[in-house]
């Protein structure tokens, strides 16, 4: 689906938090996961800026691990603040999507 980017923008950070919550992971893998889900437009650079922001806001714990080739990779795991932020994201998402569904179901 094209032109999802604008709509996705506000929720991408929550999606990234959720992916990191399920297992400790790194930027490239997160991007791949979202691509597989069908968000083809998401590039690694976008995820990178989100990860930088999460780190700056103290929501993630960062570990550097050597990779097979190239420089060491940064792995991200959620800390308590990150898990709280994720819970808030889902609450907001429930609210938003239920309201929009109501609008749609209500007709007119």
């Amino acid at each position: 689906m094209d032109d999802l980017t604008e709509m996705l923008k506000g929720t991408l950070e929550g999606c990234v938090l959720h992916i990191i919550d399920s297992e400790e992971t790194y930027g490239y893998a997160i991007t791949r996961r979202l691509n597989e889900l069908g968000f083809a437009d998401v590039v690694e650079g976008t995820i990178y800026t989100i990860l930088v922001r999460l780190e700056r806001n103290g929501l993630v714990q960062v570990t550097k691990r050597p990779s097979g080739l190239g420089p060491p990779r940064k792995f991200f795991a959620l800390n308590d603040a990150g898990r709280q932020e994720l819970a808030k994201f889902w609450a907001k998402w429930e609210y938003l999507s239920s309201r929009i569904d109501m609008l749609k179901e209500g007709g007119r």
Binding site: G27, Y28, T46, T49, V52, L69
Partner: protein
């Protein structure tokens, strides 16, 4: 960072040289992207550019990782390098040279107008 480095910025020159050495090792299309990123980030620089150093370091790391993975630059950065740089520098509201100039101009104009009793 010692006093001499703070005053002369000599540590920055050294850091920049280290960055360029790392950039040299990247494939050509990545080097081109690196040049563009530097240009797009420069408006977000503070007076010395010290605030950009950690950002540039991180971006180089990203480029190095991605190049080692064998991804194309386009897969990594997409079409919007400017947007990428703005997001890196801290979002739309990031204080930039241009923003500060605009503020200063607005202030000066307001002052002048005030003096004229306008």
């Amino acid at each position: 960072m010692n006093f001499w480095e703070t005053i002369t910025g000599s540590d920055l020159t050294r850091e920049c040289r280290a960055f360029e050495a790392r950039a040299e090792a990247l494939p050509p299309e990545y080097r081109a992207a690196w040049e563009q990123i530097k240009v797009h980030l420069s408006p977000h620089s503070d007076f010395t550019g010290r605030n950009l150093m950690p950002i540039l370091d991180g971006v180089l790391g990203l480029l190095e990782e991605a190049a080692a993975d064998g991804q194309s630059v386009h897969d990594v950065l997409g079409d919007d390098i400017n947007g990428f740089c703005t997001a890196l520098a801290g979002g739309e509201g990031a204080r930039s040279h241009r923003g500060r100039w605009r503020e200063k101009l607005n202030r000066n104009v307001a002052k002048k107008l005030g003096r004229l009793g306008g």
